[in-house]
């Protein structure tokens, strides 16, 4: 949800790049990071696996600057695309204000596109959101593939709600900014409506309020896979239309998830990429409890016994020997 902070004079919006694995979500974000003016962008942070696949999310703040007295910022996130990361994908969607769905133009990936879009609808429903009311656009990426599916054909299978669509070749930067610009405009328009000038939607009463009937049934091949207890992730080889490997550094030799963000040199012991073993001190600590005072407990027990004995004595004098 958009946060409007009149104290800090800030408006914060959350935008998520969604789509199937390897469709180009992280590449979109990398291009935005490369091309956005220095004063408008923050650092690009990625929580990814050794195989350079997004494990949790990539994140980058994009500052639009002062808009009518309010510093307006977009927090850009990507999600892990693989089916078996659905639980983390769903977490990233929490509080989302706009979605860019990045679809793969490879005809062989069409089922994955459809499945991922159905998964988006389902995950939004769990937060009580209807995709038709959420600002979102679709980007048809990898248009440079020789066998790229015709746009009209993808559109007929994927764009069931008639949202704006864009053709892109993300690794060259083509189509990346137009997609983000349109989505950003849609989100800002929704803020104006939310601010009371023309209230369009009420704030959700509860995050998981009675999900509406699943929209997935309206989509082709809409069998949304359950978040299965998946086998170990097996990184797929990159497709020919995504030669972005050169932009990404070689993975480190160890097996821990790592931050793709450059780690400052000279701080080897504090690197977030370091594999940190689980220690008792590092684990969640039990609430701080005052040590039991045994002396005080003994005194209280003694007083209680004396009190009961005195009461029994008084009862004996008043009522005499009880008759059983």
């Amino acid at each position: 949800m958009v946060q409007i902070n009149f104290a800090l004079k800030e408006v914060n919006c959350k935008v998520v790049f969604y789509g199937p694995g390897m469709s180009g979500k992280t590449t979109n974000l990398e291009i935005v990071h490369q091309k956005a003016p220095e004063e408008n962008k923050g650092e690009l942070t990625s929580i990814s696996t050794d195989g350079d696949r997004t494990l949790f999310f990539d994140f980058m703040p994009l500052d639009l600057g002062n808009v009518a007295g309010m510093r307006t910022k977009f927090q850009l996130y990507t999600v892990p695309g693989q089916v078996y990361y659905n639980s983390t994908r769903k977490l990233v969607l929490q509080g989302v204000d706009g979605v860019i769905f990045v679809a793969d133009s490879d005809p062989e990936k069409m089922d994955e596109n459809v499945e991922s879009y159905a998964n988006l609808i389902e995950n939004l429903e769990e937060y009580g959101k209807d995709v038709r009311e959420l600002p979102h656009v679709i980007q048809y990426n990898k248009r440079d593939l020789p066998n790229a599916m015709p746009v009209a054909e993808i559109d007929s299978r994927l764009n069931k709600f008639g949202v704006p669509t864009f053709e892109a070749v993300a690794y060259t930067g083509e189509g990346v900014f137009p997609t983000l610009k349109t989505l950003a405009a849609m989100v800002l328009e929704s803020i104006e409506k939310m601010d009371g000038k023309a209230p369009r939607r009420a704030a959700p009463a509860a995050p998981k309020a009675a999900p509406a009937p699943k929209q997935a049934a309206t989509l082709d091949a809409a069998t949304v896979p359950a978040p299965a207890p998946a086998p170990a992730p097996a990184p797929r080889p990159r497709g020919p239309a995504r030669p972005v490997g050169a932009r990404r550094p070689a993975p480190p030799p160890h097996g821990a998830p790592r931050l793709r963000r450059p780690i400052p040199a000279g701080a080897p012991g504090r690197s977030a990429a370091r594999s940190v073993g689980v220690t008792r001190r590092g684990a969640a600590i039990a609430p701080v409890a005052a040590p039991a005072k045994r002396g005080s407990v003994g005194l209280v027990v003694g007083l209680m016994v004396a009190l009961i004995a005195a009461a029994a004595g008084v009862a004996y004098f008043v009522y005499g020997t009880p008759q059983l």
């Binding site: 946060q3 009149f6 959350k14």
Partner: protein, 173 residues
Amino acid sequence: MLEPHSMSQNQRLRHDRLTFYKEDIDQIDELLSDFLRLSGAKCALLIDKDGHLVTKRGELCTIDIDTISALVAGSFAATKEMARLLGEEEFTAMFHQGERDNIQLSLVGDRTLLTILFDDRTTVGMVRLYAGDTAKKLAAIYQAAMQRDPSGSQLHEAFGTDAKSKLDNLFDS
């Protein structure tokens, strides 16, 4: 306590911690300053569950606030999922220990996270002790704020047109 159906739009947004007004933040800032003085922690951030900063107090010069807010919210969201698997609704506190710096997270109300950064100038016990107390007071401020009419602040009517022009500058330059 107001029922959701009887709230105004502003009250609903405030209830869901989507809109923050200066009068509320001033109270929160004062409370966080008191907390820092008592606990000896370096800085306190109040972050909403969507990863946006609400307010901050203390030594912050070298911290990338946007990124840490996003990571804290993501980290908390992940533990919520773990809690669910264990049959808990959510964990209300988390602690990350470093060689020198540490982070303590406490859930405040149902939408914000009190994030405390501290080093070896204090102890985790002190921080946890005062954090619990501060979280309760913050929840009380939220409750009181929700029932009070806000100051009437709203976005300037030129927000839409100005936003369009800023988007043109950013993406078409």
